[in-house]
Amino acid sequence: MVDRIEIFEEIEPVDDSSGFLVRLFSNKMARFGGIVILVVFLCAIFAPIIAPYEYDAMNLPEMLKAPSAENIFGTDEFGRDIFSRIVYGSRISLKVGFLAVGISMLIGTTLGALAGFYGGIIDLIISGITDIAWSFPVTLLAIAFVAALGPSLTNLIIALAIVSWSGFARLVRGQFLSLREKEFVEAARSLGMSDSRIILKHILPNAFAPIIVLTSLEVPKAIIIEASLSFLGLGAQPPAPSWGSIMSSGRAYIMEAPWVSFFPGIMIALIVLGFNLFGDALRDTLDPRLKD
């Protein structure tokens, strides 16, 4: 379910951070994406205040009720308020998205930095492993990992991190390969700085921009995979209100209560759209070639 297209080969590090935010948010798409992300974040933080009901408060006589004034998104098969569940569910989507991508970013950046900085045999081994990992179909592998580890949110995050670090490794390796030849690295070396200091203090900061862009584009993919796996029953366990698992349980009642599946589906599409818009704008702003 995830496309992995190389888009960063020619991104140059940017220095003018002052004009950056202004340029980023002059883009209408970025503003819209930013607002969606912000709203979802607020939902996650203030869920207990925003949600009218507890996410696990059952009311069996009220089950599968259509959207109404009391339950604006209707109720599910236990009479729980779907709106409240979706509000709380944003916590799961964001948690999985950011934790999984964060871990895979750490793994990928470390490996990519080592490979790009040292070259030689280290590069050969790491690049080999990265290329192998890169060729795997992400969704399929994540399914296999979660099925093996047992379905839970933690395992899902681990699986996602394991299968999606290779993009970061390739990106960072490429950045390091070109940056290590630069004069400031030579200068640092001649001053007798340790390798780790050069990597962390001098090269890595110059590779930040593309890493951030890649992160912003990987998070929505992680959110979609979380939803897909929860839809298959391999994600969050009840009564956790993961959007994917709400959709999945609603599928059994789709004839009499389609709203149970539809609202979380719309929410997944919306937040992924928000991240994509934002990430796109971020990339466009950072990529001078596509600037007008």
């Binding site: 006589p61 098969e77 009479g79 047992g150 379905p151 009840p238 004839m255 009499e256």
Partner: protein, 532 residues
């Protein structure tokens, strides 16, 4: 240069086109027609019955699998059959008699019966089938069902003796199960690894035609069939030309196929569909009290479940009526005892009186007496299906009211059984489906620990009571023995019985003469049904 690239482009497109046409070509050539007669109009219209299933067969060989597809019911026959009124009646055996001590059963076989490959059915086939199942080398999942059998003796071509290790009044039940279908040694050897997949040979009214795995199993009628059991209205060749067993995993889709007429019969219609199906004039719903029992169990050798008061408190905490109404939409009944009421003689009539009513206060009090006034935190394991996970969530909610906080863990069926073996379980949901009281032996004898006695119930009194019941000389004394067993189990609150599901069977109007069979719902389809 320009020409060169144009040529290359033509080549690229050509390759793409070829690849896609090969790929799609091979895809479509392998595919099949729709199952219903709708799209095909042969000169003489075939009478085809299509039954929808959630799950496909694993292998069409009852000796090797524990998952019995209904196809096996139609293809094979058994020594003993069961009529509509719960009686054991002749199947492939015309009659049988027992030695006085009940240790030797003699079966007289039906004459003139032939397997689908033309070889005659004889006593050797009976001996070979039972011996093969009993042989540990075969590793048949059904082996333990036949454990009471010591040996099978061929007396002559048409007579066979079954010699027992212990008296076993349940033998007729075992011999009438799908697992005891009689197979042919010749066919088994002839087809080797392809037996059960590409070839299946039995003596039944239907012959195996093809199995497209994941999609459907097609059976055709056996034109030479003349030996149907007497209790069926037709004992000769079937009036239906074909039976198609179609796999449609998703329940809404299964229902839609029924409503649109592509499928004629659905067994196990989800209760949520009862209104939708009931309103449709083309479909009739049959409700069948099933021999299943759903219960909440717990590891009784583990704190806090070692305390009978905790076990009783859990029983009191469950609002079964609410579960029946909202989870099962009134399809099914509350269970208080350890056997379903459909087992009329073995069912313990005072289950409700002796059992535990829904009473939050009493539950809290019992917990307080047991020293858990501050509440409990427990894990609840269940299988990962719509029904179980719903039930688990409702129970989670109900137990919260008495101060028991529950963390649900869902497992797929294989890791679930593995987990139960390890003894990690605290609370766990189970549903058994078995038309015989001996299910209590499987689940509750101390010798069955840790598995299948996954509630880890180790109690000498229970062992004694069950052993006495199981080896009782007659059906009546056996039933009484099992009443005692259940009475004891209720007082000890070994499980928390919750519900007996009802089976909903939907049948389209094109199908006539449908009659519920008490044990195997489609036992009779082969012979009695008519499809318009």
């Amino acid at each position: 240069m320009k020409k060169h690239t144009t040529k290359k482009w033509t080549f690229v497109l050509l390759v793409l086109f070829t690849i896609s046409s090969i790929l799609t070509g091979c895809a479509t050539s392998d595919t099949v027609d729709e199952p219903s007669g709708e799209s095909q109009t042969p000169v003489e219209k075939e009478k085809v019955l299509v039954i929808g299933y959630e799950r496909d067969a694993e292998i069409l060989d009852h000796i090797k699998t524990g998952w019995y597809s209904d196809a096996l019911v139609y293809i094979y026959e058994r020594l003993v059959s069961r009529d509509y009124d719960f009686n054991y009646v002749p199947g492939l055996a015309e009659s049988w008699d027992t030695s006085e001590d009940g240790m030797i059963w003699t079966f007289h076989l039906k004459e003139g019966v032939e397997f689908h490959n033309g070889t005659p059915f004889t006593a050797d086939d009976v001996k070979w089938t039972l011996d093969t199942i009993l042989d540990p080398e075969t590793a048949s999942p059904a082996q333990s069902d036949f454990a009471a059998i010591k040996e099978v003796e061929v007396v002559d071509d048409m007579t066979v003796n079954i010699v027992l290790n212990t008296p076993f009044p349940n033998l007729l039940f075992v011999l009438s199960n799908t697992a005891a279908s009689i197979a042919s040694e010749d066919a088994y050897e002839q087809y080797g690894d392809e037996y059960g997949i590409k070839y299946v040979i039995g003596t039944g009214a239907y012959m195996f035609e093809e199995w497209i795995q994941g999609d459907k199993i097609v059976l055709v009628k056996n034109p030479d069939y003349t030996w149907g059991p007497e209790w069926m209205s037709n004992t000769g060749p079937s009036v239906i030309d074909k039976i198609v067993l179609k796999t449609i995993p998703e329940e809404n889709s299964r229902l839609m196929e029924l409503l649109s007429g592509n499928v004629h019969i659905l067994r196990d219609v989800p209760a949520t569909f009862i209104d939708k199906v009931g309103d449709n004039p083309d479909v009739e719903i049959f409700r069948d009290e099933s021999t299943k029992l759903g219960y909440l169990a717990y590891a009784t050798d583990k704190e806090p479940f070692t305390d009978v008061r905790v076990r009783q408190a859990i029983n009191h905490a469950i609002n079964k009526e609410e579960i029946i109404t909202y989870v099962f939409r009134d399809v099914g009944i509350v269970a208080d005892g350890y056997l379903p009421p459909a087992l009329t003689s073995e069912f313990y009539a005072d289950s409700k009186k002796d059992g535990y009513e829904y009473n939050v206060e009493k539950a809290k009090e019992l917990l307080k007496e047991a020293g858990f006034e501050g509440g409990l935190k427990l894990k609840l394991a269940a299988e990962n299906s719509t029904e179980y996970s719903r039930l688990a969530e409702v129970l989670q909610n109900q137990l919260k009211d008495v101060g028991i906080e529950v963390d649900i863990q869902l497992y797929d069926s294989s890791s679930y059984t593995a987990m139960l073996k390890t003894g990690e379980q605290e609370l766990f949901l189970r549903l058994y489906s078995w038309p015989n009281a001996d299910i209590l032996d499987w689940f509750l004898l101390s010798s069955q620990m840790p598995y299948p006695n996954h509630s880890r119930w180790n109690d000498p009194t229970t062992d004694e009571l069950i052993k006495a019941a199981a080896s009782a000389p007659t059906w009546e004394t056996r039933a009484e023995g099992y009443h005692e067993v259940q009475k004891h189990l209720i007082s000890e609150a070994v499980w928390a019985p919750i519900y007996v599901p009802e089976r909903l069977i939907a049948v389209r109007k094109e199908v006539q003469n449908f009659k519920l069979h008490p044990w195997i719902p489609f036992y009779n389809d082969g012979m009695d049904l008519i499809v318009e």
